[in-house]
Amino acid sequence: MSVVDSRPQQPIIRVQGLRTVLGGHTIHQDLDLEVRRGEVLGVVGGSGTGKSVLLRTIVGLIRPAGGTVEVFGEDMATLKDGERRACETRWGVLFQDGALFSSLTVAQNVEVPLREHLRLPQRLMDEIAALKISMVGLPASSGAKFPSELSGGMRKRAGLARALALDPEIVFLDEPTAGLDPIGAAAFDELINALQRRLGLTVFMVTHDLDSLDTSCDRIAVLAEKQVLLTGTMHEMLAHDHPWVREYFHGPRARAALAAETAGPEAHA
């Protein structure tokens, strides 16, 4: 469903032999993962398999104990501070509950990265903030509101607007639909799909939501046994015979989610 480049597939993110240790526990061991430019990758795995840890490691919030993380072809560990910051402006992160700055309004939140990395006139920043707020489907009236005045779904949208402020190439989403009701979750999936298509984003999504996996993701990566067990499309997941993968993709909840797919396969073929 996404615009996949016809150029030879140079991965936009390449993780090789990653080892992460947190509080004495090895979370990842020899983990390899590639994300292609322009795709939506969904990362699944049981609780505690380190999905969010992987996301945090790639964006540099957690320092890996071994292995390399390359984003945009640059080895993150060897970059100087300035180069790192330059890389950071090329991706956006949406945390679980938006992680908006509570003392700033929504529009001011969107302006934070603009203010930090660029020297734009205030008027242009206001215009860009309004544009992003509209693009994530928030009403114009929410611009001057504080995060505490918004619902959970709206906070996520506002967080997405902030993540998109600098027109990033990659967007990292940490459980984007967690805590939303099914209608809100479906609407958020739809929003991510639409933005991904229109802006040509690469999306790295940690999720538990089988509906999101099915409707949004081009490929799925399964995290288990401290590694990426397999990556592939939904159909490849369904065909795989690893016990956890079978249980995950053939359980009662999965069947319900996938029933929708078989009912209308042309909808996202």
């Binding site: 180069e83 734009l120 860009i128 027109d167 229109r198």
Partner: protein, 412 residues
């Protein structure tokens, strides 16, 4: 400048760091045009009067170049009532670039110019459409309230809040008293393990810090007193000074303040994080009374241990004072004790110790009360903890003043 006071500070700091004489300001980050392919805009005005002016946009129209493009577009003046916008040389266009372009086209239209787009690639047209569909300006800052109104609003709110807090605190005090009476009636209801644990936490574990502070204050008092009294040749009265001030006031007051900072805050943080985590609600649904399980052991533990801590502080304060008197004024320990027995009555000591359980109850009640006021967020735990300490210290000092008046009225 008032508008973004916080950011002004940030920007000023960044500017002072980044500004090199002669070099233009480049922002705190590194997303400047230097590292990006350039963007340009060119107006090809007609040589003859009858042809249409052409606006050529080219290069990388991305957010990193937005500042430069914005400035150039602002200066742009297109003559005539027709214009051709040529996008053939455009290499990259993101939403910020598309916005700048769209805004310019919109301006041309309000100037009643006839606009023709030329050479736009499909994806660039799609980006322009995306931006056009999202042209909904919004307010950025919270609604402005006049300063006077804001001050009045704050004063009013604060007054009502204080009144409510006072009412709730009295209600809480009553509820704890009732719970205490119930436990006195049936002592098995009291959580003895929790009580002993809390006594260790707030009493025994506080010994080093309370002792050290009391000792040092004793030293300071003796030294400062010695310097002043030596001028009058009344060195020996330094013992009276130390004894009366430490025993009556400083021993207990210091202990109470240290304990408020150490244990009052801990009570708020412990109960508060349980409240935030819905543990307190879970407790209620399981038929347990949080006052009985959480509050009472803490209050009783502090009421029982604070007098002992105050006694300990008294001893160490006198020790520190005595040591300093020996060193600075050559008052030997024997002389010190002799003078001490003449200078102070048992009452001086008792007045200090009598106050201890009252201060303890106050500190513990404030700590627990604030803990139970926590709502949901982690931020609220922090706010309530700060509040508990400030309120506890304030109330302890107020109560100490009331005790002073009381004792002077009854003449001890």
């Amino acid at each position: 400048m008032h508008r973004w006071a916080l950011w002004f500070v940030v920007d000023a700091a960044a500017a002072s760091r980044a500004r090199v004489p002669g070099a233009p300001y480049q922002g705190f980050g590194c997303m400047h045009a230097k590292t990006m392919p350039p963007a340009w805009i060119e107006l090809r005005a007609p040589a003859r009067g009858d042809s249409t002016p052409e606006l050529h946009a080219g290069g990388s129209w991305r957010i990193a170049n937005a500042r430069q493009l914005d400035r150039e577009l602002m200066r742009l003046a297109v003559p005539g009532d027709r214009v051709i916008v040529d996008m053939a040389a455009l290499e990259a266009l993101d939403t910020a670039g598309a916005w700048l372009l769209y805004r310019t086209l919109k301006l041309f239209r309000t100037q009643r110019k006839e606009v023709a787009l030329r050479g736009a690639r499909d994806e660039h047209q799609a980006m322009l459409r995306e931006v056009a569909a999202n042209d909904h300006p919004c307010e950025v800052d919270p609604p402005y309230v006049p300063t006077l109104l804001r001050i009045l609003d704050r004063v009013g709110r604060a007054t009502v809040d204080v009144m409510k807090a006072a009412r709730d605190f009295i209600a809480f005090f009553g509820a704890v008293t009732v719970t205490l009476m119930r436990c006195v009636w049936r002592p098995r209801r009291l959580r003895w393990t929790a009580l002993v644990f809390q006594m260790e936490q707030v009493g025994f574990n506080a010994l080093p810090i309370v002792g050290l502070i009391a000792f040092l204050i004793g030293v300071v008092l003796a030294y400062q007193g010695a310097v002043q009294l030596q001028r009058l040749g009344a060195e020996v009265f330094v013992v009276d000074l130390i004894a009366v001030s430490v025993l009556r006031e400083i021993g207990i007051l210091l202990t109470a303040i240290v304990v408020a900072g150490r244990s009052g805050s801990a009570f708020t943080a412990q109960i508060g994080s349980m409240k935030a985590n819905e543990e307190v609600d879970a407790m209620r649904t399981l038929g347990m009374d949080p006052l009985e399980v959480l509050v009472l052991p803490r209050v009783l533990a502090l009421v029982l241990t604070l007098p002992m801590l105050a006694f300990f502080a008294d001893i160490l304060g006198l020790l520190g004072g005595g040591l300093m008197a020996w060193i600075a004024l050559d008052i030997s320990p024997v002389m010190f004790i002799e003078r001490l027995r003449q200078a102070v009555s048992l009452w001086s000591f008792l007045i200090g110790i009598i106050k201890a359980p009252f201060f303890a109850a106050l500190i513990a009640l404030v700590g627990c009360y604030e803990g139970l006021q926590v709502t949901g967020s982690a931020e609220s735990v922090g706010i309530r903890t700060t509040r508990a300490v400030v309120e506890a210290i304030f109330l302890v000092i107020v109560m100490d003043a009331l005790f002073s008046i009381f004792f002077s009225t009854i003449g001890v």
